[in-house]
């Protein structure tokens, strides 16, 4: 009888151990580190924009500081070479950060009445990464530009 009880208890202890291990693996799975998007997510976001059409390097100029101290507010400038006439203008500009939890940062829609394709805004960067800007021209072609940056203090995932 006594021996029987011990067996029962050890089994219970063993089950508890297994349970703890399960929680540990679950915890690791949902940890903030896994929240960051992978480059594949960025590629997927780009394919969604272009619909699989080829993207040509050039024409797009993306400016971000090469070294960022705080990723919460990073000044980002994007400009596209274009005459901005009714026949030839920039339709939209998409900015994609492959290291952010959500790769899309912003999209702007321009018209010939924009006069020029120059946009400045302030973005969040979660990690040191390459940021891409993709411009869609009025004739349907896509051009891209990119910039690499080093972020020392990341945005987005800190505790409140």
């Amino acid at each position: 009888m006594c021996k029987d009880f011990i067996v029962q208890k050890s089994r219970r202890a063993w089950l508890k151990k297994i349970q703890k291990l399960a929680f540990l693996t679950l915890g690791a799975w949902f940890s903030p580190l896994t929240v960051f998007a992978k480059p594949e997510d960025a590629t997927k976001a780009i394919t969604e924009i272009t619909g699989g059409k080829p993207v040509i390097n050039g024409k797009v100029n993306l400016v971000i500081p090469p070294l960022v101290e705080n990723g919460n507010l990073v000044v980002l400038k994007v400009s596209v070479e274009s005459p901005m006439t009714p026949n030839d203008y920039v339709k939209s500009i998409h900015v994609i950060a492959e290291g952010n939890p959500l790769p899309n940062i912003f999209t702007v829609y321009l018209t010939p009445r924009s006069g020029s394709a120059n946009i400045t805004t302030r973005v969040r960067l979660a990690d040191s990464q390459i940021v891409r800007a993709i411009a869609q021209m009025s004739n349907g072609s896509f051009y891209q530009g990119q910039a690499e940056t080093l972020v020392t203090l990341s945005a987005c995932t800190e505790m409140v």
């Binding site: 939890p101 018209t111 400045t120 973005v123 960067l125 800190e158 505790m159």
Partner: protein, 109 residues
């Protein structure tokens, strides 16, 4: 975030016809990304401005979609052609019924 908040527009009040003017538009907003946790481990829901539009005499000249990668108090600087004297209206719309509107007048010579 409240239903509306302070916004500010900075642009020239007059311009020559056909010239390019620069417009700076800023809105007061936390832009809660939806990726942050409280100390208790609860996820803070996303609360951001989604769309910004600029209409020039009721014609849309600029539109931007924002995602959670835009920093708090979103500032956006863009350009437009000064075509005619009139009013430029700026509108921000976001999560949880957020809406803010601002106007500016432009005299074209």
């Amino acid at each position: 975030m409240s239903k509306t908040s302070r916004t500010s527009i900075s642009m020239p009040s007059s311009a020559k016809k056909g010239s390019i003017i620069e417009i700076r538009a800023i809105a007061q907003h936390d832009m809660e990304s939806g990726f942050r946790y409280t100390e208790g481990g609860k996820l803070i829901p996303r609360d951001i401005i989604r769309v910004f539009t600029c209409t020039y005499n009721n014609v849309e000249v600029f539109k931007a979609d924002f995602y959670s990668g835009i920093g708090a108090n979103p500032l956006i600087i863009f350009t437009t052609l000064a075509t005619e004297t009139g009013t430029l209206e700026f509108k921000w719309t976001g999560d949880d019924g957020y809406e803010a509107v601002n106007q500016a007048n432009l005299t074209v010579t």
